[in-house]
């Protein structure tokens, strides 16, 4: 179990590195293509950096607003507060703040840039349908996400995907715009220019797809890791396994979830069955339950 955790962490850094390279490549080609050279790369990187900075500090409140979560009062959910306090003692971590989403569909997610700023949000459906050990399993899974800095990474990855998509959209548009205006002005540079244009076009089409796939791969690896870490905190993998069974048996989709926030939840809130393994934000729940029961 411990070695699996180390391997997952390393792979995640590799993925993140590839991601940054990809972004830089798109920026470079864009600069070459528009003839502004390094300026394109520089400005694109600056914008991306600002976006990352903003999301680093405000992502948690944005996500909580977007999902309609409210802070939980201890008088209202005493056993939930006790569970999360107990788990944080067991894990030797600061207790995350607890938020409630008024939704009958059982689900949960975590956010926050570090364990001190951690937030765990659960739906009212989760509190009603699951018993105490199952809820503890879910809470421990979310706390593991916070402990592993998944919550920070997931948000940063989301922003990076957004930036790459935006940038390549930009390239595609300016490409069509240019070809409409005619190419008399740039006849001097000839074949070289055409080649760069083709490369730019190919990258601009491929980049968003790659970016999305990378983000999904990050998110899927991290679900297994958080399952393992969560079980390490509760010492009771069966709690989370049976919670996952109950949550995934729910046919309804979450009201306030969007494609952007989907990877954050413990189980994909959209449940589009039949979609291929490559494009799903979460590993098949059956595989996760099987792994938990084999611990």
């Amino acid at each position: 179990m411990y070695r699996a955790i180390a391997k997952n962490k390393r792979n995640t850094w590799v993925l993140l590195f590839i991601f940054i390279l990809l972004f830089a490549a798109v920026g470079l080609v864009f600069g070459e293509y528009t003839g502004s050279g390094m300026w394109g790369l520089g400005i694109a990187s600056l914008v991306a950096l600002l976006l990352c900075f903003g999301s680093y500090y405000y992502s948690d409140s944005i996500v909580l607003k977007a999902t309609g979560a409210r802070p939980a009062q201890k008088e209202e959910y005493p056993h939930l507060v006790h569970s999360i306090e107990g788990l944080s003692i067991g894990a030797g971590l600061p207790a995350p703040r607890l938020y409630i989403i008024d939704d009958p569909t059982p689900n949960a997610f975590a956010t926050g840039r570090n364990p001190e700023k951690g937030v765990v949000a659960v739906t009212t459906g989760l509190i009603e349908r699951l018993n105490r050990t199952e809820i503890e399993g879910v809470l421990a899974h979310e706390m593991a996400h916070i402990k592993n800095y998944d919550t920070r990474l997931a948000t940063l990855a989301t922003v990076m995907v957004g930036a790459v998509v935006l940038l390549s959209e930009w390239i595609r548009r300016s490409f069509f715009f240019r070809s409409m205006r005619g190419r008399t002005s740039s006849r001097g540079r000839g074949g070289h220019q055409a080649l760069i244009m083709i490369v730019a076009l190919v990258i601009s089409i491929l980049a968003p797809i790659f970016a999305q796939l990378l983000r999904l791969a990050i998110s899927r690896r991290r679900e297994f890791l958080a399952d393992a870490d969560g079980a390490l905190i509760t010492r009771y993998p069966e709690g989370l396994a049976s919670a996952l069974e109950k949550i995934s048996a729910e046919p309804q989709k979450l009201k306030n979830a969007s494609t952007a926030t989907a990877p954050l939840f413990i189980i994909n809130p959209f449940r589009t069955g039949g979609s291929s393994k490559l494009f799903s934000t979460h590993p098949p729940t059956g595989e996760r339950i099987k792994a938990l029961r084999e611990m």
Binding site: P78, H79, V81, H82, S83, E85, G86, L87, I89, G90, A91, G92, E128, R129, L130, N131, R132, T133, E136, T234, R235, Y236
Partner: protein
């Protein structure tokens, strides 16, 4: 000339290794101490809850004087305990009697409907689960610390600086497993 340089380098590396190893042991030992005080905090919380609980139960269940007297006595003993062994014994008595009290409470519908009692019961359950978690964290920290002391080459330094391993802690009836017993009493189970 050359040889002395080599010696200086070797001693430098050795010195750094000793400092690193020593500091790691200190860090791990402090973590054990901190984990221990976590248990203390939660045990104290339980002591604080008990007078309130006893008072509430007394108002409804006058026939359970003996159980309540035992709880109060065990609490006093636990607070006054001088050694870990004594405290363990007292805590075990306390846990057992509290369990009996809560079981007895089932026979008094008025008590079971009392808001204050329900709140105290939840507080107690929460605190006991925290004690169990604190104990788990303590034992984890002890395992890490003890393992470190036994590993070569750290065991040489551990002997030199008199680092001593710690004992694992058992508090009867407060393991994580009995939590599963609460399955049935939860709403919305299966």
């Amino acid at each position: 000339m050359d040889l002395s340089q080599i010696f200086i380098i070797i001693f430098g590396i050795l010195g750094l290794a000793v400092i690193f190893s020593y500091n790691r042991m200190i860090i791990k030992r402090n973590r054990v101490d901190n984990a221990w005080s976590q248990i203390d905090v939660q045990l104290k919380r339980r002591y604080d809850l008990i007078p309130n609980l006893v008072e509430t139960v007394q108002a409804y269940a006058r026939h359970e004087r003996e159980t309540m007297a035992q709880i109060t006595e065990a609490r006093t003993r636990a607070i006054a305990a001088a050694t870990v062994k004594e405290q363990e014994q007292a805590e075990n008595d306390l846990t057992r009697n509290l369990k009996r009290l809560l079981a007895v409470a089932e026979a008094y519908p008025d008590l079971k409907a009392n808001k204050n009692f329900l709140m105290l019961q939840e507080e107690l359950a929460g605190t006991e689960s925290k004690i169990a978690f604190a104990r788990q964290f303590y034992n984890d920290s002890v395992m890490e610390y003890n393992t470190r002391l036994q590993l070569f080459p750290h065991n040489i330094l551990a002997g030199l600086f008199r680092f001593e391993g710690r004992d694992y802690l058992e508090i009867e009836g407060l393991e994580r497993e009995p939590q599963a017993v609460q399955f049935g009493s939860n709403q919305g189970g299966e």
